[in-house]
């Protein structure tokens, strides 16, 4: 109880406020939460129904042809799948690209536009953790989109009693291709998305870069006599486009579709190593530039 003289003296009373003494979950927990939340956001989970439509439509669009092929292989008694795993990813590469273009700005641009990035950085998670969590989330989301049809194809191959060893090996090739696609796409997509707070512009820019570089790579290939089998040096043109260089590298590394005229192939020997180095440099460079982007927000 206070008396009149105490009140005039200006006493501070202990009314029982206590600091938080429980466990602090710390930096790693915060990073992991950011990863989980970003991965869910990439598929619109935990958001309105309207933002779920697009990612699931693209996921479905990527998986549907695999289901059709599975059904055809089962009912027509084929002795192999209509498309090999790596070939499948190359044929439908536009869907994961659109997925990237649509969802990378969801992960990056929104935080920038609503100025919440500084709030993240006032917590234990650092700038590096933020970029790492976003990168991992986008990578995982793309891996889900890329690997799901491959697993469906593999299931189909097992149901149709195709040789296990051969299919397992080709599934692994497909997964290697998926990892490479996902790494390069994520690095490029996040970098572009982090550069603009406007979602629409980010979408168009990511897709523009991927599409125009692919068209340019094909054109350069054709101009340098690419369809003439004697001139293998023209396949260096695929380095212009990230998606074409992944396809060309994987086809060369595992000696796939060698008889297919339309499949892309990297140059032999040291050429393949250069392709791999360029892809890794693209990924590392994109990641480093994204980190740099968040140095001061």
């Amino acid at each position: 109880m206070t008396t009149r003289s105490d009140a005039h003296g200006g006493v501070i009373h202990d009314i029982g406020y206590r600091p938080y003494t429980g466990p602090r979950l710390g930096r790693r927990y915060a990073t992991r939460s950011l990863y989980v939340q970003s991965l869910r956001a990439a598929f619109g989970l935990g958001r309105s129904g309207r933002s779920k439509v697009l990612p699931f439509l693209l996921l479905g669009g990527m998986a549907a042809p695999a289901l059709v092929m599975l059904a055809i292989a089962l009912f027509a008694h084929l002795d192999r799948m209509p498309k090999d795993y790596v070939d499948y990813l190359a044929s439908f590469s536009v869907l994961p690209q659109i997925f990237l273009a649509a969802q990378a700005p969801v992960l990056m641009s929104r935080d920038l536009r609503h100025h919440v990035v500084p709030l993240y950085f006032s917590r234990p998670a650092t700038r590096g953790d933020y970029v790492a969590a976003k990168f991992a989330a986008m990578f995982s989301a793309l891996m889900i989109v890329l690997a799901l049809p491959l697993l469906l194809l593999f299931t189909g191959a097992m149901l149709a009693k195709f040789p296990v060893g051969d299919n397992l090996l080709h599934l692994l090739y497909g997964l290697v291709a998926a990892v490479l696609y996902a790494l390069v796409y994520t690095a490029l997509g996040l970098l572009i998305a982090a550069a603009t707070p406007r979602r629409g512009f980010g979408v168009a820019a990511i897709m523009g870069v991927l599409m125009i570089s692919f068209a340019l790579a094909n054109l350069t290939y054709a101009l340098n006599g690419g369809f003439n089998p004697a001139r293998t040096s023209s396949s260096w043109a695929f380095l212009i486009s990230p998606s074409a260089s992944v396809e060309a590298l994987v086809n060369r590394l595992f000696d796939l579709s060698t008889d297919d005229f339309s499949a892309l192939h990297a140059p032999t020997g040291a050429g393949a190593a250069v392709f791999l180095a360029v892809l890794l440099a693209l990924t590392a460079g994109g990641y480093a530039l994204t980190l740099r982007r968040y140095r001061n927000v």
Binding site: L54, I98, M207, L223, N224
Partner: protein, 238 residues
């Protein structure tokens, strides 16, 4: 047509450094055609590759998409369209003004460079270059109208436009013949076929069908966009 709205739209489209990004497309086309000139390939084949596949097939849709959605979708997205809608202007006038700016910009950024690139590559022979240019003008206008409509209809206008251009026109169009009848790109190509000398350009869609569909899509999309803009509800961030 309202000059103030047109001026503001053009500024929104080209203002700041955005013009540099938009200019990348025509510059790329010109660089490619200068490089391709010295490749020693068959000239007609080269013209088809650069003008048909690269320009009409990729650059015109991309430009139409960025410009068509850029004139209205960005304003709807950041909510600043309300200041324009609050003015005593008929909505159809806003739509047509923005469409005029979009069509003009698409032509300037894709059809004109296509013509110059064509002259560099092939010259004026067989009216091939003229044909491709007219095709690019027509399909550029149709793309602008279509993507402007998408910008009014949905918040995911860019994605929807990409899905149309890439999945419908390129992916499905290359497997299913019938899908090409409903493809803006093929209508443009059909105009190119009609103008160019016989047998130089081949299009899968007939000229009559293409012309009618172009007119229907252009006028229909504009009219529908006006109707939709009259009853536009602004939704918050999802």
């Amino acid at each position: 047509m309202n000059t103030t709205v047109a001026r503001l739209t053009a500024r929104g489209l080209f203002g700041r450094r955005r013009v540099l990004i938009l200019l990348a497309v025509p510059v790329l086309l010109l660089v490619v055609s200068v490089l391709a000139r010295s490749s020693g390939l068959d000239e007609l084949d080269l013209a088809h590759r650069v003008l048909g596949t690269l320009a009409l097939g990729t650059l015109v849709p991309i430009t139409g998409l960025i410009v068509g959605t850029g004139v209205i979708a960005t304003e709807i997205e950041d909510g600043s369209i309300v200041y324009l809608l609050a003015k005593p202007l008929p909505r159809w006038k806003i739509v047509t003004t923005k469409l005029v700016v979009a069509v003009g910009s698409t032509w300037l950024l894709s059809a004109v460079p296509l013509y110059v690139a064509g002259l560099l590559l092939y010259g004026t022979g067989d009216r091939v270059v003229l044909g491709y240019t007219v095709g690019a003008l027509a399909s550029g206008a149709a793309y602008s109208a279509l993507f402007l409509l998408l910008g009014v209809l949905t918040r995911h206008a860019v994605i929807a436009g990409l899905a149309y251009a890439l999945i419908w026109e390129s992916l499905i169009g290359s497997y299913v013949e019938g899908a090409q009848t409903l493809s803006v790109q093929q209508w443009g190509l059909s105009l190119a076929e009609a103008i160019a000398a016989d047998g130089t350009v081949i299009a899968p869609v007939g000229l009559g069908t293409a012309l009618w569909l172009l007119v229907i899509v252009g006028v229909g999309a504009t009219a529908y966009a006006s109707v939709k803009l009259s009853g536009l509800t602004l939704s918050g961030e999802e």
